[in-house]
């Protein structure tokens, strides 16, 4: 039962993330949305891995790896956003700077 809760929460997070990723213009928001989706997926993953008899170690390993990857990705992204903001004065992509 609690597994389903985890899975549903994961799904919800993913949904929220997707909305943010597409609808938001500011790059930092998009990065956060990306992390939201990531966490959602990992939550779901964990729930999926915890089924059946005993605990399946693999998802945990994978999730940890995934989190690391996502972290480094976010780091690079933030770095780029900062650089962008420094060079062009805005943290939005050139063609979207206009719309909010």
């Amino acid at each position: 039962m609690n597994l389903t809760v985890f899975a549903l929460t994961g799904a919800a997070l993913v949904g929220l993330g997707v909305y943010g990723l597409i609808a938001r213009v500011h790059m930092l928001r998009r990065i956060m949305a990306f992390n939201l989706i990531g966490s959602g997926l990992f939550l779901f993953f964990g729930a999926a891995g915890a089924r059946g008899v005993g605990l399946d170690p693999i998802p945990q390993a994978l999730i940890i790896t995934g989190i690391v990857v996502a972290l480094s990705a976010s780091a690079l992204a933030v770095g780029l956003v900062v650089a962008l903001a420094r060079s062009s004065g805005t943290a939005c992509l050139p063609d979207e700077a206009g719309d909010t």
């Binding site: 597409i22 992509l93 063609d95």
Partner: protein, 549 residues
């Protein structure tokens, strides 16, 4: 590798000799005096003919297999041609001015001569065609030799018709050869009877030969070209070269064909029409040219009627007509009244012979020609003597009007005697050759009815001459039909339409479309759109897979 040749090389040598002489002017130093060689070019052929044109040869590797040889009639004409060319060559060597142009003239003279001999020697159609092409096309430079406006205009008409004739002839020969699956002239001729498109083929042949033979209405080049050429050139053109067309018809046009009757009709048309039209000319050479058309018309009638005497008659005409043209030349060179009288005398004699005065070679020619053709035709031929006498009488009058040349020309006498020999031969030779050429005893000539048939038209003609001398004749420049059919002015030079070199095409609409593509690209770049499309695609793909499984 098959053997080089079989048979005797004599005919081949006869043909090669002028070609070799034709190469002489290539050496600049010899160019100036190349004219001296002209009289010697035809000599081997002459000897060959006098010896009775013995032997034939086959050279398989040359061209598509060259075959040379003669039959009685071609042998006759071969000899005549050689004789005419010899005398004309002599005249050219004596009279024409030396120099660069002379070298060119000499080369083409020899080439034309070789072609002219070739049409009588060839036994396969390829060789024949080549000879025919040589004799037609190589004569062009001789026509335009003087470079006068008239000469250039004449040359233009000449070359155009010559090329057209060549093309027609080639097509005709192809049709025949394809049916015969062989290149022998005799075989090809026989094959026309039941060849696919055989009739067309024969028609094309007649057109090709007709142009050369001055058949009405394809004769238009002749009255322009013959007067325009230098005298020696006119002599060979009118005397010998036109016979190439004639022999072509004799050799290749089969007896049983509807075209024959057309030949007769056109022949008669030429025989009388041209003679009458000749009266409208002032230049004696032009008058002679028209008389050539009319005489060729007669010969064509004989061909159409399948007479045996064609070659025999042609022989006489060739000699006589060449002599007449040379007489014009002598007249131009004559200075004293005595010389002028002598020329007119000789010309008159030859003219009478052409008209067919009894006991002259011309009379014999006419008699031989009339043998074995219908009553009506022989009557027509007899009648034609009237017009012939008329036009030649008119020629003599014009000849008398030729203005004398102020200063004396060297050895006029020698030159004249040579011309005289030619003229006399025209009168005599038919007597000598009668036994070999005509298969009725020579006494036939003395038959009173024949004498009468020969005499009265001439007398009538003379009367007519006396008449026309009185009344004022209209004077036209040569080139009858060309002018009739609105060929407004004869242009000397070739002027060809020059096309535009392709206009630039503009491709603006395409460009506008491409720019639209660029805008679309910018839209795709827009993340919200791109992102949602991406999610959409993921689901669509999933849906596809889902549906399928």
């Amino acid at each position: 590798m098959s053997m080089m040749y079989s048979g005797s090389l004599a005919p081949f040598a006869v043909l090669m000799w002028p070609l070799l002489l034709g190469l002489v002017p290539i050496v600049p130093r010899w160019r100036a005096n190349a004219l001296r060689l002209l009289p010697f070019a035809p000599l081997p052929a002459l000897g060959f003919a006098i010896a009775g044109a013995p032997g034939s040869v086959e050279i398989p590797d040359l061209l598509l297999g060259v075959q040379l040889g003669t039959r009685p009639d071609t042998a006759l004409l071969l000899g005549m041609t050689a004789l005419v060319w010899t005398v004309a060559g002599w005249y050219a060597a004596q009279v024409m001015e030396r120099g660069q142009a002379a070298g060119l003239f000499a080369s083409f003279w020899c080439l034309t001569l070789a072609g002219n001999l070739g049409v009588f020697l060839a036994a396969d159609i390829v060789t024949f065609y080549i000879a025919f092409a040589a004799v037609s096309l190589a004569a062009w430079p001789m026509v335009i030799h003087d470079r006068t406006r008239a000469a250039l205009a004449a040359g233009r008409v000449y070359i155009t018709l010559a090329v057209v004739g060549e093309a027609a002839l080639l097509s005709g020969l192809m049709i025949g050869a394809a049916a015969a699956a062989d290149l022998q002239i005799s075989t090809v001729r026989a094959a026309f009877a039941d060849a696919p498109f055989g009739t067309v083929g024969v028609g094309l042949l007649i057109a090709g030969f007709g142009i050369k033979a001055g058949m009405v209405p394809l004769h238009i080049w002749l009255p322009l070209a013959h007067p325009a050429a230098p005298v020696a050139g006119s002599a060979v053109l009118s005397g010998a070269i036109v016979k190439a067309g004639l022999i072509g018809m004799v050799l290749l046009v089969p007896e049983e064909t509807g075209w024959r009757s057309m030949l007769i009709v056109l022949g008669l048309l030429g025989a009388f029409g041209a003679a009458i039209w000749g009266l409208s000319q002032q230049n004696p050479k032009a008058v002679l040219a028209y008389s050539t058309v009319s005489q060729m018309g007669l010969l064509l009638v004989l061909v159409g009627a399948g007479s045996q005497g064609v070659a025999y008659a042609a022989l006489h005409h060739g000699l006589a007509k060449a002599a007449l043209f040379l007489c014009v030349g002598m007249m131009m060179l004559a200075t004293s009244a005595a010389q002028r009288r002598a020329v007119v005398g000789l010309a008159g004699l030859v003219a009478l012979s052409v008209a067919g005065l009894p006991l002259t070679g011309g009379a014999l020619a006419k008699l031989a020609g009339k043998l074995g053709i219908g009553e009506m035709l022989s009557l027509a031929i007899t009648l034609s003597s009237v017009t012939t006498t008329l036009v030649l009488g008119w020629f003599l009058i014009c000849l008398g009007r030729v203005s004398a040349k102020p200063q004396q020309t060297p050895h006029w006498g020698g030159l004249f005697s040579v011309v005289m020999v030619l003229g006399v031969l025209a009168l005599i030779l038919p007597w000598v050759l009668w036994p070999g050429a005509v298969d009725v005893p020579r006494d036939y000539v003395w038959h009173p009815s024949n004498m009468l048939e020969g005499l009265w038209p001439v007398l009538a003609g003379l009367g007519a001459v006396a008449l026309v001398q009185r009344l004022k004749l209209p004077a036209y420049p040569p080139g009858d039909l060309l002018r009739l059919f609105g060929k407004h002015k004869l242009r000397p030079a070739f002027q060809l339409p020059v096309g535009n070199h392709g206009a630039r095409r503009t491709k603006r609409p395409a460009l506008r479309l491409l720019l639209k593509v660029k805008d679309a690209e910018r839209a795709l770049l827009h993340w919200p759109f791109a992102g949602s499309t991406l999610m959409g695609l993921a689901l669509v793909l999933a849906a596809f897979v889902w549906i399928a499984t």
